[in-house]
């Protein structure tokens, strides 16, 4: 049985993958294809769209991993003795 917190981490990863596909297919892809209208920009779209979408997905995963444990488990870290 997978640890509850590890499972949470895996769920966040899967959500990150979903965010990647939503971003690249529905937001960044259409936006970039509309904006760029010449070579070499159009030739770079197969790279630019995944790069930017990946950046957004990674940002989502990072933020989710940072704030989710605090909200869900009230995990505020160890108390540091002065």
């Amino acid at each position: 049985m997978v640890d509850k917190r590890v499972r949470t981490l895996l769920i966040i990863f899967v959500e990150g993958i979903v965010v990647y596909f939503i971003t690249s297919l529905l937001i960044i892809g259409p936006l970039f294809r509309k904006f760029y209208v010449g070579q070499p920009a159009v030739g770079l779209l197969p790279f630019a769209i995944p790069y930017v979408s990946l950046g957004i997905a990674v940002a989502f995963v990072t933020i989710a991993m940072t704030i989710y444990p605090v909200i869900k488990f009230k995990d505020r870290g160890d108390v540091i003795e002065e």
């Binding site: 640890d3 917190r5 590890v6 981490l9 904006f35 760029y36 209208v37 010449g38 070579q39 070499p40 920009a41 159009v42 030739g43 770079l44 790279f47 790069y51 990946l54």
Partner: protein
């Protein structure tokens, strides 16, 4: 600790990061090596397509067509035609940027650079100087009209 004794998870993490960074590096390198003309380079060799000489100066852009016609802050291009801009400067360093074509080339006095591109859609697009070049730097912008 959360990930204690989770060796497989750590390996997946490391491999995934290496795979993503490796893919980014390989795709960047392969594109750069195979599309050298689309990246600004010092003038050399036979320029591709129609050559337009571009001169940046404080504070405007001048375009000289192959027939000798000169226009300022406006350039008219034909759709689906390959152009090479040979860009230089009369004074300080400028930087010609046409975002919608993915073109950016430095204008340096005595050091012409060239870049090749091709408009694929009709319309009017903005270009501008993106290297701070003096008090009226913001005036160094104009339009590319693709017909």
């Amino acid at each position: 600790m959360l990930l204690k004794n989770k060796t497989i998870l750590e390996i997946i993490w490391i491999v995934a990061v290496i795979a993503i960074l490796g893919w980014a590096a390989v795709s960047n390198a392969s594109y750069t090596l195979s599309h050298g003309d689309n990246i600004a380079n010092p003038v050399g060799g036979d320029p591709e397509g129609i050559v337009i000489n571009v001169t940046g100066y404080q504070w405007a852009w001048q375009f000289q067509y192959p027939n000798g016609t000169i226009s300022t802050d406006k350039v008219v291009l034909e759709v689906n035609t390959t152009y090479t801009f040979i860009v230089t400067s009369k004074d300080v360093i400028h930087d010609l940027y046409i975002p919608q074509f993915g073109v950016q080339v430095y204008a340096v006095y005595g050091h012409p650079n060239q870049v090749t591109f091709e408009p694929l859609k009709k319309g009017t697009f903005i270009f501008e100087c993106v290297e701070y070049c003096g008090e009226y730097h913001y005036e160094m912008r104009g339009t590319v009209v693709v017909v």
